[in-house]
């Protein structure tokens, strides 16, 4: 498949700079560990977060960060769309007889981003094996769906921000409010916030579907309608569909304005 061939060539490019790759990975690992330590410190100080234990919060925390890392990994082309437009790489995509959405997805997979994702996966597995109770295969599947769902939501946001780039070539960093902000917000169960925030990030940008809804199921905190909580990640994934259309419409607009 062409997507994998694009990935292969990107990874080959990265491996031309092994030192930069390893040192960045090491740096990111230090960052990931220090931030996690911060979370442990808070639970050391406060014991619980309005009824949520370290296990539940830690799950939310690691899931959202893993999802964000994966979205940056696979959505690099969207993440750096303004650069692609400025450097003319998007023009090159336009002269290739291939779908633009897929070309952008596969544009610049970076092995360092992949490495960060792997680090989070390791953290998540370690965390569950230490703190997890009564973990089942079904819960594992829901967890996997949750991560995919979160990735899809972040990708959707990246696509919309990439779409805005077509109108203003300078990077629209306001969207980082939703990506960086989303990471910070989604690192904790959304129900701890003001109810309007909880609603907005459950029904408009469905971070809730990759956050407290499935986590409540995984942590055995749900008695009725369990299947609804189990399926919630699937609803979150739907978010990316309108985003794809919005991006496509913006890309169409680009060719009528140019650089």
């Amino acid at each position: 498949m062409l997507l994998f061939k694009y990935m292969k060539i990107n990874i080959m490019s990265n491996l031309e700079y092994p030192l930069a790759t390893y040192s960045t990975l090491l740096a990111r690992m230090v960052g990931i560990i220090l931030e996690l330590i911060g979370l442990f410190f808070l639970f050391d100080r406060f014991q619980s977060l309005v009824g949520y234990s370290l296990y539940e919060v830690g799950l939310c925390y690691l899931i959202i960060r893993l999802a964000n890392a994966l979205s940056i990994c696979f959505g690099k082309g969207y993440n750096s769309m303004s650069g692609l437009i400025r450097k003319g790489a998007f023009d090159t995509m336009l002269i290739r007889p291939r779908n633009l959405v897929l070309q952008s997805f596969s544009h610049a997979l970076d092995i360092r981003d992949l490495g960060v994702s792997v680090q989070y996966i390791i953290m998540l597995v370690l965390f569950i094996s230490i703190y997890g109770v009564n973990f089942t295969v079904m819960k594992g599947i829901v967890l996997l769906l949750t991560v995919i769902s979160g990735t899809a939501i972040f990708l959707g946001i990246l696509m919309i921000s990439a779409g805005i780039c077509f109108f203003s070539v300078k990077n629209i960093e306001a969207v980082s409010v939703f990506t960086d902000g989303g990471v910070k917000l989604g690192s904790y169960p959304l129900t701890i916030y003001n109810k309007w925030i909880t609603r907005f990030f459950t029904f408009i940008i469905p971070f809730g579907c990759a956050n407290y809804l499935p986590v409540l199921y995984i942590a055995d905190k749900i008695d009725s309608y369990r299947w609804l909580y189990m399926l919630s990640p699937v609803f979150g994934m739907l978010f990316i569909i309108p985003c794809i259309f919005i991006w496509y419409a913006c890309a169409k607009h680009y060719s009528s304005t140019g650089s």
């Binding site: 960052g31 410190f41 100080r45 306001a174």
Partner: protein, 266 residues
């Protein structure tokens, strides 16, 4: 001092050019500040025995967001980094001034310009947020003055620390990762990840032994009154000692490192 003003103005203007970036930076700081406040207010509901009251914590967080670029060591001069990386630094070497001092001034001017543009909107919004969630007035006038002095010193301290990035770059051209590690460690030990008073007590000793807390944590707590006048004056003295020590050591290392580049021919 004329060139310092020049660079300050240039950076300020070019930051203004990227209005979208500046606005969204401000917006992100406000948004993230608000998220932190909400998270901590939820945590504070779960425990009453906390070494810092919530009102002070809120001010601490807002100051941290307002002066985000002051404390952030990931804020760097990419142009200068490229000069070192791609070897055109040899041109810099022949200029008729002391390179360490010039780069120091350049980096500090940039940091000040970037902060000057952003801190007011963030703090203004934070002031408008009602107690105990917003930014409160300083505890005492002396506290305010001392915290301003300490914040100004923070610019020098942050620049002195960030100079080590360039020293690193001279030696190991791919020291990019080291830069990031320094930024992360500095953020952690200056209270950027979680406020230092909320850390376990045993951490205080480690934090106190490092210079990073004087970038953010210290001036912020002088402002909220968490650190009293006497301790504040004493702390500022330690801050100055750190600055002098880091600059002296940095200059020596800078000279050794840059000499090496010359021999290699850049």
């Amino acid at each position: 001092m004329k060139w310092f003003k020049g660079i300050f103005k240039m950076t300020f203007i070019s930051e203004l050019q990227y209005r979208a970036a500046a606005w969204s930076g401000i917006l992100t700081n406000i948004f993230i500040g608000a998220i932190f406040i909400m998270i901590y207010s939820a945590f504070y509901k779960s425990s009453t025995e906390v070494p810092m009251n919530f009102k002070d914590l809120a001010s601490y967080i807002w100051l941290g967001q307002g002066f985000f670029l002051l404390t952030s060591l990931s804020f760097q001069d990419w142009e200068l980094i490229d000069t070192v990386r791609y070897g055109s630094v040899s041109y810099e070497m022949v200029r008729p001034y002391e390179l360490y001092g010039f780069w120091f001034g350049r980096l500090m001017a940039q940091r000040m310009a970037a902060v000057a543009l952003r801190f007011l909107p963030v703090l203004a919004v934070a002031f408008l947020i009602p107690d105990p969630y917003g930014l409160s007035l300083p505890a005492t006038w002396t506290g305010l003055i001392l915290s301003i002095i300490s914040l100004l010193l923070s610019f020098i301290l942050a620049t002195a620390i960030s100079m080590y990035v360039y020293i690193f770059l001279f030696r190991v051209l791919a020291a990019w990762g080291a830069t990031t590690i320094l930024a992360v460690i500095s953020s952690f030990f200056s209270g950027g990840i979680i406020p230092i008073p909320l850390m376990p007590d045993y951490m205080y000793q480690i934090v106190n032994a490092l210079p990073f807390r004087y970038l953010g944590d210290f001036p912020f707590r002088v402002y909220t009154g968490g650190i009293g006048t006497n301790d504040a004056v004493f702390g500022i003295l330690i801050q100055i000692i750190w600055i002098l020590g880091l600059i002296l050591l940095g200059r020596v290392l800078f000279r050794i490192a840059s000499r090496k580049v010359e021999i290699q021919g850049g």
